[in-house]
Symmetry: C2
Subunit: 163 residues, 2 copies
């Protein structure tokens, strides 16, 4: 494993670890827990599951891995805060898009060569990337790993709440 492969392994492992922890947590949540706010007046777990799924789905396009699968849900889970819109979807269907989005990403990541991670992502221009080579695909994954950890910290507050 050369240094480029090593760093991609490290960043992908960090991502996988956060995905696994979050997935295990969602699996453990009852229907009631999914509808509980993480703190009084804050987002419900169901909203965050849909939010994380939509952010995953956006990554497909940002990393040039293909078309998005459920961009129609952006208004519900990204553009707007938690609302009655979320209740229009069933809990199992929200849990499913979370799982599907991770499987899709994982399968796409497996096909990427390590050098591809150092290419520009689709939201940065050729000119900007020439000046700022850190705005590459690996940096997107680093940023999304932090985003996931941020919300995992919130979701953990619901753990054992129903016990």
């Amino acid at each position: 494993m050369n240094q480029q492969e090593l760093i991609v392994f490290m960043v992908r492992s960090a991502w996988n670890s956060q995905v696994k922890r979050t997935d295990t947590l969602f699996d453990s949540f009852t229907y009631e827990q999914m509808l509980q706010p993480i703190a009084p007046g804050k987002n419900r777990a169901a909203y965050l599951a849909g939010h994380l799924a939509c952010v995953n789905d956006q990554m497909l396009k940002l990393l040039g891995l293909g078309e998005r699968n459920f961009s129609q849900l952006d208004p519900t889970f990204i553009t707007n805060p938690d609302s009655a819109e979320v209740d229009a979807m069933s809990i199992p269907s929200i849990k499913k898009i979370w799982k599907d989005s991770n499987q899709k990403l994982s399968s796409c990541f497996d096909k990427m060569k390590s050098e591809e991670w150092f290419e520009r992502h689709t939201a940065v221009s050729v000119e900007d990337f020439a000046r700022e080579p850190h705005r590459n695909k690996l940096n997107v994954l680093i940023s999304r790993t932090e985003h996931l950890a941020y919300h995992l910290g919130q979701l953990m507050l619901l753990k054992n709440k129903a016990d």
Copy 2:
């Protein structure tokens, strides 16, 4: 900037960004907010500030950057959950160790060459590192960035609570 320098820049930038967001948040918190739990029955902001400061302090030793400055606070902020022990310290003194720990780390990181980040950290043996070269200093920083993001997500729940 070669690829090794680029990746160290990316990981350090991610760390700095989370530190800055968290620091701005702690700066904005009133005395009352520092003593509020992030959710009913959960850790208070003051505990989390001390917790993050102690984890920073541990990194000095883990990365071979020098001796720790306040390991005597580990029982209060790492080994045990939030308790009356926290109230034995003043809020300004807790905010100060948070800031000091970041300044110390930043100053140490500035002196590190990019190749040093790929050396083993002090909690992995020479033998294990030969088999698992990803257990390097950069991986510690990636992991601590997620840890910080995790708690930042929780601390954000207190934002505007006093408004």
